[in-house]
Amino acid sequence: MEQRRLFKGKRTRTPGGDIIVRLEGVRKRFDNDTSALNGVNLEVRSGEFFSLLGPSGCGKTTLLRILAGFEKPDAGRVEIAGLDMNGVPPYRRPLNMVFQNYALFPHLNVFDNIAFGLRMKRLPDIEVRSRVDWAMELVDILGLEKRKPQELSGGQRQRVALARALVNEPEVLLLDEPLGALDYKLRKQLQVELMNLQEDLGLTFIYVTHDQEEALVMSDRIAVMRDGSIEQLGLPEELYERPSSRFVAQFLGTSNLIPAQAVGEKEVDTAFGRLRISKKLKKGDRVTLSIRPEKVRLSRTASLQYNLVDARVDDIIYTGAENQYLLDINGFELVAYTLNSDIQEPGFEEFDYDEKIVVHLPEENLVVIHE
């Protein structure tokens, strides 16, 4: 597959297609009394790359399985392409799933695996042949027709699983952590391929993952789930730059969380003094401020009037492209990232252990979380 577009940048495209999947009030409880889903409401638009993101046990896989028809919700409504899916078994739903463990049939070769769904529909051999060839070319596994799954590598099996689902041209493709078992480089490569595939084919993808970086890279919209509910839903940038809860702030990337109390309209009191913020609050409101490490500005000298704090460099972690500074502010720990760009300018300086520096927390980067 051509690697035409490697970098998509920030996806600013807001898919405006029709609503193709709608969940209303979906609830599910399991035998051991753990509540898997607590009344989930969700709308996915046609042509969207939609991700369900969350830690293990948050209910994302259960939600996917309910969509696929392998589990029945205890309450609520599931609509796919406008049709109520109540009582509809998986083999009659207009969607296909890529399973986490691939679930390839070991007694069939690659061709027969991919052709399976088409043969279930009793399509003529010629059509089966051409569609399977199309799917195999799409995921770049031409030449592997006669091999058995056991003879394939992890990445190849993943592509077969993908082809097997895609060849049926489903309205919606469900993907259950498909890249989890692959090594880092392969994962990165396949992420890009999946994204391109989705866009080229114009399919709707509903993608389950616990890897927040993956979700940020690939999705048009993300639903962050926790304990059976959707905590926040929106564009990747929205969730990253304006998390609505401490959980989302910490789950997506790293975040510095600073408890604060409002003392004026746009001023708060914190453990390291007064800070100006860009959002209006009522006096006395208790909130948490979140600021991303890369937005924290470090320097040796104070150059501005407000939102400046004195800090001592406690630890430095070198990750190649970045320097991660663990800063000590009177016992409170703050994390800051700077790029190793070798530019000798204020804002790009490198600091030493135990050095006393000045930290600037820009008010526009202090996100207010009402918790």
């Binding site: 083999y91 799933m97 679930a103 049939f105 070991p106 097997r164």
Partner: protein, 289 residues
């Protein structure tokens, strides 16, 4: 590993066992083959010259046409094997799933293994007690107001006895496969449009094949060669190849003919094994053990 140390390793480990197998398994088997071409001599032992007479007699080939006496017996034995195997599969296949899907797997497994380990003579003669004229079955029928049935001795009793005896031999290896089934394959099949029946056939059934084939072999082979069950439950009226062999080596003392019969039986069974080994290899065997 150099040649000498390899030899020093191979000899003490493989040596004794291999030697034993050669002397007490290979040689006796070859002896049967050899003896089948000899004749019975007046002193009750064996003598030359080599002849095909025993085989001719078994297959009933003579100038006046084919006397199918022994062929019919062989046919009946194979029929018993086939029927007993098929019925065992029908009974045992769902049962294996019953055990695998149950919450009391271990207990159920124990319950299946117990008859398997109970002495097989006990399990066979019990059917005499059930089927005899004044037996359990007739007692129950009588108390319900029905006429008695005479199933002992009879072919029916032999069939039922055979199925009963070898049923656990099918269930256990089959269960070993069923327990390992990857059920997500069924979900994948459903997802791809297969209904309940086709989903089972394409996704589940192939996974049960190793155990199933092992189990089938473990039922078919002893069933074809049985003589105890036909002797006890058929009281001499139901003759199978096993009985023929036993008689020839017993009262009739025609060891040459008996060897021929034994060899035919063995050849039939070995052919089946060879075909199986080609297709399923060692996997199935390890399932059965």
């Amino acid at each position: 590993m150099n040649k000498l140390s390899r030899l020093k390793g191979i000899l003490p480990t493989i040596g004794p066992g291999a030697l034993w197998l050669v002397i007490f398994t290979l040689v006796p088997t070859l002896l049967i083959f050899y003896t089948s071409f000899l004749q019975r001599d007046p002193h009750g032992w064996l003598s030359g010259p080599f002849t095909l007479e025993n085989y001719r007699r078994f297959f009933g080939i003579s100038e006046s046409g084919i006397d199918a006496l022994y062929l019919k017996i062989l046919g009946r034995s194979i029929l018993l094997g086939v029927v007993a195997t098929m019925v065992s599969v029908v009974i045992g296949y769902p049962f294996a799933f019953f055990v695998a899907r149950s919450q009391h797997k271990n207990l159920l497994l124990l319950l299946v293994v117990l008859p398997f380990w109970t002495n097989f003579l006990i399990r066979v003669y019990a059917w005499i007690v059930i089927f005899q004229r004044k037996g359990v079955l007739n007692a129950i029928l009588h108390s319900l107001g029905f006429e008695p049935v005479f199933l002992y001795p009879s072919w029916t009793a032999v069939y039922i006895g055979t199925i009963y005896t070898y049923l656990p031999f099918l269930i256990l290896p089959l269960y070993a496969s069923v327990e390992k089934i990857d059920w997500t394959l069924l979900e994948a099949a459903y997802d791809l449009g297969a209904g309940k029946l086709r989903g089972f056939w394409h996704a589940i059934f192939p996974q049960t094949l190793p155990g199933l084939v092992a189990g089938i072999m473990l039922v078919f082979i002893p069933a074809v060669g049985t003589f105890v069950i036909s002797d006890l439950l058929g009281a001499g009226k139901t003759i199978l190849v096993g009985n023929v062999i036993q008689q020839q080596f017993g009262s009739s003392r025609d060891w040459a003919f008996g060897s021929a019969a034994a060899f035919v039986l063995m050849a039939a069974v070995m052919a089946g094994l060879w075909i199986y080994a080609r297709r399923a290899g060692e996997i199935g065997m390890e399932e059965l053990v």
